[in-house]
């Protein structure tokens, strides 16, 4: 029996009608019903009547010359329609990339990391495609692998990319360094002389994976004009489009992209994965082609969080004031650049954390290596730094002999503080306050698992594995706080576009919002409907599917979408409102003088004066008229950091979160149970409090994951990935995740729409160091690496 559906499961509009549902209310998701009934069309659900399945053949070695590729047997396999290699690429442009076009669509000449795409197959059944791909014979001549800073920058090091011509090569000290960013402010050497205490630390941050649940997938359908339609899960349609069209040899208007349902992203969908491959196969075979990665392939199909080595020195006076900070942050970017340059900018500019230190000497670098490519992940460079500087704060507080939270509060930045880049913080920065709030919260009761009937082993470290009944279990408490920039920094033109239409349908005024924003689960579409209701006074709002038929919305990342695309929707709504009022003046202006003189608002389906007098029904006013506006919106501009000193107003806005972790550790087996992970965060304005809390809890859990379990393990000798599966790469389950009480502050940023503060990433920063601090507190161990594994706690 062939498939029973006959059409592509294209994303549908979602319409929501609410009496309430404006800004500041916990409005429910417009796509919620579709998602709980199983009808929401995710990218892996796309289906077409006569579609083929695409499969990628990936390299089995990390660094090698490709001597030959033999596709003859694969092509002979019954059911196979096409086998493509580098030689089949149709255009002169054969690479893509977010910042540097260094990533081959299919490997040519060389492979640079384990799992790099080498060839493609299209067949009539996914298993046929897999078996055919396995018949492709690739002969490799292996090269030495570069896996760390020492091997990358050795005098005789093999270059990962020979003949670099990108803009960063001019400034880097070695061609195996993608980008470096020093930040020098004041005089750290001199200031160090004032220190009564100096602490140094070396920290290691493991490679984390976004592990979004919906695998990379999509459907490419060839169109009659020689172009292609692509239904895909991504974070930024227009960025994909700019990278896809040139390698297909097509003008952008012939590549029509529609966002299909996205099952999470967290930065892992910023880069191209299967998009180009599916289009190539569709254009070659003339048939729709679907590609769905399995979890194994997904671990090779997207970039990860940069693993890092961080070397820090801080000083403090005996009364607890920070004197200076020196640090070097080495991020491993892997084989291709992806977002590494921007990650370096973040890591360096946020390396001080939310503290006042006038004298700093900072450098962050990203390496090219033969490890898996790394790029964007929630927290983007700020996460690694936060792990290190928060460990340093604890060590320094202990040396000074101060309470760890008080020490942080004493040195906390506030509105007006100058960042190490010289940029003043010009909106509320309640660092001391969010620390106070997590500290003031009552601690969860001790030994909750104990009762008169004995121990409930489910609540102990190790859980039902029944490894302890409480003997040898110790508790610890730890604190951390972090700072994250919001939006794209360093002079990037970070704009968004929204098209808003207002018309009367079935006697009711209806607003339609059309943007290219990727709804990846964060709730952007809910907020857009709330903004339209608030600004236009309607109940019914339709959210048009995101596609490339409207201008770019920028990326769903960097905590920027509610700020920037939300700002664009607000802006477009305001322009629509003006046009609606013009129609009102034209139609009804002669009936009431307020049309000409009063400030008018749209509310409850009516035009009201600021005194609340109703002038007209929107339904009546708009009868026979459609008002539509498409407009761009920009936040205030930023500038690039100086290449040598790192000075410059590079960031748009900052966001702050603090955590208190309570853990229990079975010291015999080295098992950790996180009992509670309380958090406080300033969000400027909670446009949707329910979603805000959900984001904070989710972000906190990802930070918990990297603290105690999540790590992609790469063999240091071969640069091969050892654990590409959910069996071996562990993410927190509901049993690993504690209660996460959330305290939300709303201190408005005067420069942002509605005063909001981008908030999706900050909770991921401080959660990890808080858990580590709590484990140190429980065990007395130094623990300078994350994730903490049982062997680190038992010394085995």
């Amino acid at each position: 029996m062939a498939g029973t559906k006959t059409t592509t499961g294209a994303p549908t509009e979602v319409t929501q009608k609410h009496n309430k549902g404006g800004i500041g209310e916990s409005t429910l998701r417009p796509d919620g019903t579709l998602k709980v009934t199983g009808e929401f069309a995710y990218s892996s659900d796309m289906w077409h009547e006569d579609m083929l399945w695409g499969q990628t053949l990936r390299s089995t070695v990390a660094h090698a010359e490709i001597v030959s590729i033999d596709t003859v047997e694969a092509l002979k396999t019954p059911g196979v329609y096409a086998v493509l290699t580098y030689d089949d690429l149709p255009a002169e442009m054969k690479n893509y990339g977010l910042e540097i076009q260094d990533t081959p669509v299919l490997a040519h000449g060389k492979v640079r990391h384990h799992g790099e795409p080498v060839a493609l197959v299209a067949a009539d059944h996914p298993e046929t495609a897999r078996r055919a791909a396995a018949k492709i014979v690739v002969e490799y001549k292996e090269l030495p692998v570069i896996t760390d800073e020492a091997s990358a920058t050795a005098p005789d090091a093999v270059l990962v990319h020979e003949g670099r011509t990108d803009e960063y090569i001019k400034h880097v000290p070695h061609p195996n360094i993608v980008h470096n960013q020093p930040i020098i402010r004041g005089n750290a050497e001199e200031a160090a002389k004032k220190a009564d205490f100096i602490v140094k630390g070396e920290y290691t941050f493991g490679m984390q994976d976004q592990a979004f649940l919906g695998p990379e997938s999509g459907l490419a359908v060839p169109s009659e004009d020689g172009g292609v339609e692509l239904y895909v899960a991504t974070q930024w349609l227009h960025s994909d489009l700019e990278q896809i069209a040139p390698v297909l040899g097509l003008p952008e208007e012939k590549v029509r992209m529609t966002l299909s349902g996205v099952g999470g992203a967290f930065g892992g969908r910023e880069d191209i994965s299967m998009q180009i491959h599916a289009c190539l196969l569709a254009l070659r075979t003339g048939k729709p082609v679907k590609i769905v990665y399995n979890r194994f392939e997904s671990f090779f199909g997207h970039v990860h969080r940069h693993p890092a080595k961080l070397y820090y020195e801080h000083g403090a006076t005996k009364d607890g004031k920070l004197t200076h900070m020196k640090c070097k942050i080495v991020l491993d970017g892997g084989a291709y650049a992806s977002a590494s340059p921007a990650v370096v900018g973040n890591a360096s500019s946020l390396s001080v954390g939310p503290y006042v230190i006038d004298d700093v000497d900072i450098e962050a670098i990203a390496l090219y290596s033969n490890n898996p490519p790394c790029g964007a992940m929630r927290g983007f460079g700020a996460v690694q730094a936060c792990f290190a500087y928060e460990a340093q704060m604890d060590k320094l507080a202990d040396k000074v002999g101060m309470d760890r939270v008080e020490f942080r509060q004493l040195n906390a930045m506030s509105q007006g503080t100058i960042m190490p880049t010289g940029q003043p913080v010009d909106s509320p920065a309640p660092v001391a306050e969010i620390l106070r709030r997590v500290k003031a919260r009552p601690l969860p009761p001790e030994r909750q698992w104990e009762s008169s009937e004995g121990a409930d082993v489910r609540a102990l470290p190790g859980g039902l594995s029944n490894t302890t009944h409480g003997e040898g279990v110790v508790r610890g408490v730890g604190y951390a706080v972090g700072i994250k920039n919001v939006g794209f920094s360093e002079g990037f033109d970070d704009y968004s576009t929204a098209k808003v239409r207002m018309e009367v349908i079935n006697g009711e005024p209806v607003a339609t919002v059309h943007t290219a924003m990727a709804e990846v689960g964060q709730g952007g579409i809910t907020v857009h409907a709330q903004i339209a209701r608030t600004e236009l006074g309607v109940q019914q709002v339709t959210i048009h599917p995101a596609d490339t038929q409207v201008g770019s919305a920028g990326s769903t990342s960097a905590s920027r979408q509610t700020y920037v695309t939300g700002g664009a929707v607000k802006n477009s709504c305001e322009l629509v409102r003006e046009k609606v009022l013009e129609i009102g003046r034209r139609k009804f202006g002669s009936y009431h003088p307020a049309w000409a003189t009063a400030e008018l608002v749209l509310e409850g389906g009516k035009v009201l004066t600021d005194g609340g007098e109703a002038l007209a029904d929107l339904a009546e006013l708009l009868e026979g008229e459609t008002v539509e506006v498409e407009a761009e919106w920009r936040h205030r501009p930023t500038v690039a950091f100086d290449k040598k000193t790192g000075q410059g107003n590079g960031h748009v806005q900052y966001s702050f979160a603090a955590h208190r972790a309570v853990v229990e550790v079975d010291t015999e087996l080295g098992l950790v149970k996180v009992v509670e992970l309380a958090t406080a965060q300033d969000v400027g304005k909670a446009l949707n409090p329910l979603s805000v809390v959900g984001q904070i809890q989710g972000g906190t859990t990802q930070g918990l994951g990297v603290a105690v379990m999540e790590e992609i393990i790469v063999d240091p000798k071969t640069a091969k990935v050892r654990n590409p599966s959910f069996t071996d790469y562990l993410i927190p389950t509901i049993l690993d995740t504690p209660t996460i009480p959330v305290d939300v502050l709303e201190l408005a940023d005067p420069n942002a729409p509605y005063g909001l503060r981008g908030m999706g990433e900050a909770p991921t920063l401080s959660s990890t160091p808080a858990v580590l601090a709590a484990i140190r507190n429980a065990t007395g161990l130094e623990l300078n690496r994350t994730p903490v594994r049982p062997e680190h706690l038992t010394g085995t």
Binding site: T33, F212, L213, G694, F726
Partner: protein, 197 residues
């Protein structure tokens, strides 16, 4: 091979099934029921959880041939399954002979209004409505599997403790929510279930 089984109350037969095909593949790609999700396809994430003769299983780990003559309920049939359970055994368990929606009906389902807030959208089971109301749905990819598992929990344990909920849902990964709102949703559904008995 040919496989005969019941999906959401309706007898189905699938032809030309390759011996290695999973129940998940047959549901998604042959039956047109993509509600069960394909996040890991190795039984680790629970996104593809369905009920097989009433028992929650990862459909990615069930070979299609194993379901010969048996009954499967997917998220697409969950509302009707729950409704039938309520009608025939209010507040009680239902066993393995529950009816459900026909495949034809399942295929023809459209979103019947999308306003979770007022409940005017119609026929959702209590656990589905609770997931929407509690904000337990973000990207939603884990949601179908969690719903099937949570519904089964509430069927056998009408007022589960937090530890019971955690244990029952420990085979279902969620990457977005931090699980707090999922716990809220199950508590909410249990409370509402109690009210209606």
């Amino acid at each position: 091979m040919r496989v005969n089984f019941t999906v959401n109350g309706r007898q189905q037969e699938a032809d030309d099934v390759w011996e290695g095909e999973s129940l998940l593949y047959v549901l998604r790609e042959r039956m047109g029921l993509p509600g069960s999700k394909n996040a890991c396809e190795q039984g680790e994430c629970g996104s593809c959880t369905v009920r097989l003769d009433g028992v929650p299983v990862c459909s990615c780990l069930v070979a299609a041939g194993q379901v010969e003559g048996r009954e499967v309920v997917t998220v697409e049939g969950l509302a009707d399954y729950a409704k039938h359970r309520e009608d025939s055994h209010p507040g009680g368990a239902c066993g393995s002979v529950c009816g459900g929606t026909s495949l034809q009906e399942a295929r023809q389902w459209q979103a019947k209004g999308t306003d979770g807030q007022t409940g005017e959208g119609g026929e959702l089971s209590q656990i589905q409505q609770a997931f929407i109301d509690a904000g337990a749905v973000q990207c939603g990819f884990c949601t179908p599997g969690l719903l099937v598992a949570a519904d089964e929990l509430l069927e056998r344990n009408a007022s589960p403790s937090d530890a019971d909920i955690r244990e029952a849902l420990s085979g279902n990964l969620c990457r977005c929510t931090g699980y707090e709102k999922i716990l809220d949703a199950v508590r909410l559904a249990a409370a509402r279930q109690e009210e209606t008995v």
